[in-house]
């Protein structure tokens, strides 16, 4: 079994400043409806959650072999399971990249502290990526 790890950090105040300056143009460009709803409407607490989600998207991008193309930010989505655990859901070009690379499963952990949001993603890869002939 092959494992890949991606990790990223995002200062929360930078997200708060972007929300303050660009408003929904910023949030709608980066985050899905589900992500925005999950983080609530209070700008201060929302910034913390959104910073974690941005870090998660970046962590996933570090795992995927982008081959010069970066998927849309919203094609990498952080969802909450019924039990409250965060999980990565890919769609569109991000899902295609992951499938071609043989990514079978991703696990996500989010943390916040000291003004920084952190995301760590572990991906389990198939022995042989989808679409290979050997």
């Amino acid at each position: 079994m092959k494992i890949l790890v991606g990790i990223d950090v995002q200062p929360i105040d930078e997200v708060e400043a972007s929300m303050s300056e660009f408003g929904s143009r910023y949030t709608r460009r980066l985050f899905t409806d589900h992500e925005l709803q999950s983080c609530g409407e209070n700008p201060r607490t929302a910034a913390s959650g959104l910073a974690g989600r941005f870090a998660a998207k970046e962590a996933v991008l570090k795992i995927l072999d982008l081959q010069g193309t970066i998927p849309s930010w919203k094609e990498i989505e952080v969802r909450r399971t019924e039990g409250g655990r965060p999980e990565i859901v890919l769609s569109g070009g991000a899902a295609d990249l992951a499938r071609r690379q043989g990514v079978e499963q991703m696990s996500l952990s989010l943390s916040h502290g000291g003004g920084i949001a952190t995301a760590a993603v572990v991906a389990q890869l198939a022995q042989r990526p989808t679409g290979t002939s050997q």
């Binding site: 300056e21 970066i70 849309s72």
Partner: protein
Amino acid sequence: MSDVDATIRKVLETHGRLPVSASALKDDDDLYQSGLSSHASVNVMLALEDAFDVEFPDALLRKGTFQSVAAIREALESLGVVVGPG
């Protein structure tokens, strides 16, 4: 330096969070190597949209679009921004 170049550098100065002055960057200097983060590049993109009254389509939301001052200028030209002589 054209007005477009001056505006690009001003946007980089105010939104790029670069550890170096944007005015000191050469046209082809790699902005990511110079300290531009992915998050800051989103802010640069939104500020460029405001400054030039354009909208970057998803197809241009690639790392390469914001790789250098020259690459940004090229992207703006593709969006219809007229770049005058430098």
